[in-house]
């Protein structure tokens, strides 16, 4: 066997130019493919982190019917007591209660369907860092009641500027229409465009009585110290509050989980396309190399090198050809990932386009060991796949014909 390895290894360097081209193609392909997967990871992680810390939190508590109907009457009457209990748990980083009402916001220029979030200013600050999202004006003032935070998008659309009035209309618990005038104290902007289109914030005590559920809550949101304790805490809460619907972020926003799996699939499909393109290049190169050596292979067959050995020789040659490009490609990819993971890639120039999908503008590419393993498997598979066709071609050579020339 060792003589086959020797011949295969030396054959690679017979056509230096061709081997170099394949080597460079393999390195660049691996580099691009692996980095792309890492980039997708970073994008997904960013998306999930920002969704959890600024919108969803880790766990949400509701009346069992609330998320189906979105009606005020599905309240958590003991909500404030529950919130107090929850906030004492050391696993929990922040928690807040909300009243959530579907309604309308109107100005002289028009109206828009929205979700009115009645929030506890202090708790909400800790939970979703709402004040950080304000780009004009200020967060809620302790002494003022009828203040509202609207998004930049709504502000533009309804032409409501800072300190101007907006009318919010909704149905109370009994089904009666209620309208309140609010003064715009601040204008916010998040990275999630669709979210901005549909949400306004007011103080919870500005609407609870009007909505007919004074001192009550529709929703409790909880941010954990770490995502790793998610399942445990969800179970614990369910034991403490057996009649309450308790959902984690994956259940609340299944599309986020989908983002992860679709993103992963996309990355692997793209990697697959790159590897397939490489495979065809390599098959082509090796086919040429086999055809050019028809005489030589015919001679080896004549001398008594059996078909199995001829097959192995060509397979080894193809695999070596691919493997010499691998270390460079891996090195480039891993270096790029380490560097960009450390520094982040800033997309702020394109942030407008980006934010409408809910992505933040700095991405930190990363790669898991599992993914690295899958990539290595794919590469090995590609090598074997590309090796088979030239090797089969070599077996078709007939010694008597090929030695004639």
């Amino acid at each position: 066997m060792s003589v086959l390895t020797k011949i295969a290894r030396r054959n690679i360097w017979r056509s230096k130019k061709r081997s170099l081209i394949i080597m460079i193609a393999v390195s660049i392909g691996l580099w691009a493919g692996i980095f792309m997967i890492a980039f997708y990871n970073g994008m997904i992680e960013q998306r999930i982190n920002s969704a959890i810390t600024s919108e969803l939190s880790h766990i949400q508590l509701h009346h069992a019917m609330f998320r189906k109907e979105y009606e005020i009457k599905y309240e958590l009457p003991e909500g404030k007591k529950m919130l107090e209990m929850i906030s004492n748990d050391p696993d929990i980083k922040a928690s807040a209660g909300r009243i959530i009402i579907k309604g309308m916001i109107a100005s002289a220029s028009g109206s828009n369907g929205i979700t009115i979030n009645g929030v506890m200013p202090k708790e909400e600050h800790l939970l979703t860092k709402l004040p950080d999202k304000i780009i004009e004006g200020k967060y809620f003032d302790n002494h003022q009641t009828n203040e509202i935070l609207i998004s930049k998008k709504i502000s533009k659309k309804l032409k409501i500027n800072l300190n101007k009035k907006a009318i919010v209309t909704f149905q109370d618990k009994e089904g009666n229409l209620a309208s309140i005038a609010f003064r715009v104290c601040g204008i916010y902007k998040t990275i999630n465009g669709p979210y901005d289109d549909a949400n306004v914030f007011v103080k919870i005590n500005a609407i609870d009585s009007l909505a007919g559920i004074p001192n009550s809550l529709n929703e409790i949101a909880i941010l954990l110290q770490s995502n790793s304790t998610l399942d445990n805490n969800q179970k614990k809460l369910q034991q403490n509050f057996p009649n309450i619907e308790i959902k984690n972020w994956k259940e609340i926003a299944p599309e986020l989980g989908l983002t992860v799996s679709v993103g992963n699939q996309m990355a692997y499909i793209l990697m697959g396309i790159i590897l397939l393109a490489l495979a065809f290049g390599i098959i082509n190169t090796m086919m040429m190399s086999v055809l050019e050596r028809t005489w030589e292979i015919g001679m080896l067959l004549a001398l008594g090198m059996n078909k199995f050995k001829i097959f192995v020789m060509i397979v080894l040659e193809t695999i070596f050809l691919i493997l010499i490009g691998c270390p460079l490609g891996l090195l480039l990819a891993l270096t790029t990932i380490v560097v960009t993971n450390h520094r982040g890639i800033d997309f702020s120039k394109y942030t407008e386009v980006y934010s409408s999908f809910g992505y933040k503008s700095v991405i930190y590419p990363s790669l898991t060991m599992g993914q690295f393993g899958i990539i290595m498997l794919l590469v090995v598979f590609t090598a074997l796949f590309s090796a088979i066709f030239p090797a089969i071609r070599a077996l078709k050579i007939n010694p008597a014909e090929s030695l004639k020339k």
Binding site: V3, R14, M299, L301, A302, L303, G304, N306, K307, L403
Partner: protein, 239 residues
């Protein structure tokens, strides 16, 4: 005692059977004894290569069969035929005989490696043969660094190394100048004598023919003469 190594019965090879049939070989009988040094001559297209290919199991006859030491090789197929060639027949071709990426030494060793012969035996045999062909100083040279004559000598050494039943050489001197051709013939004759290895080779070259002990003449796929050269010719050309 005479021992038949090659036994060809009623060999025929017909090309283009369906359109205009070409009889490359037409009912050839041939027996070669151990230790022969036999030349096959004949005009271009007379069937020399075809005959050697049949004997060497590189091509299938249209009719007849070939026995090597009582094995009917015409009935062998695929890897069994290849393995038979590996263990019984040595080949020397007209040119480009050597594996380009292996050195002279590695080329000579190659067949023995395929046969899984032990290392000591291989080393000993390679050293011995390098000396016989007078190329001890070229052990580590690749084929491109050798002259045509040196390449052919290495090819002969490679064919001889595993001590096959016989060696087939299709125009081994055709690409060599006369001095190199004489040199190669010297080496072949010496090894034929010292190791009693059977040689069958085809050639156009009269000086080469004159050094053979038996000359078979082919014309249009038929054996038209099978003789030893005259004494006088031997005296003229033998050194």
């Amino acid at each position: 005692m005479k021992e038949t190594v090659i036994d060809a019965h009623n060999l025929s090879k017909i090309y283009d059977e369906k359109t205009i049939p070409v009889y490359a070989l037409n009912n050839v009988h041939l027996h070669i004894q151990r230790g022969e040094f036999t030349a096959i001559k004949g005009p271009s297209g007379s069937g020399k290569t075809t005959l050697l290919n049949m004997i060497g199991g590189l091509d299938n006859p249209s009719g007849g069969f070939v026995e090597i030491n009582d094995t009917n090789i015409t009935a062998l197929k695929g890897n069994r035929l290849i393995d038979f060639r590996l263990n019984n027949i040595g080949f020397v071709f007209q040119s480009y005989n050597l594996i380009p990426v292996l050195t002279a030494k590695e080329n000579i060793e190659f067949i023995m490696l395929l046969q899984n012969r032990p290392k000591e035996e291989r080393e000993k045999r390679v050293a011995e043969l390098l000396k016989q062909i007078g190329m001890e100083d070229k052990v580590d040279k690749r084929p491109v660094e050798l002259s045509g004559g040196q390449q052919q000598r290495v090819a002969v050494a490679r064919a001889l190394a595993p001590k096959p039943q016989f060696i087939l050489a299709d125009e081994p001197t055709a690409n060599l100048d006369s001095i190199a051709a004489e040199n190669l013939l010297d080496v072949m004759l010496k090894l034929n004598k010292e190791e009693n290895i059977t040689f069958v080779f085809s050639t156009h070259d009269q000086r080469v023919i004159n050094r053979a002990r038996r000359v078979i003449t082919l014309e249009d796929g038929k054996i038209v003469a099978d003789t030893a050269p005259t004494k006088i010719e031997h005296l003229l050309y033998e050194k």
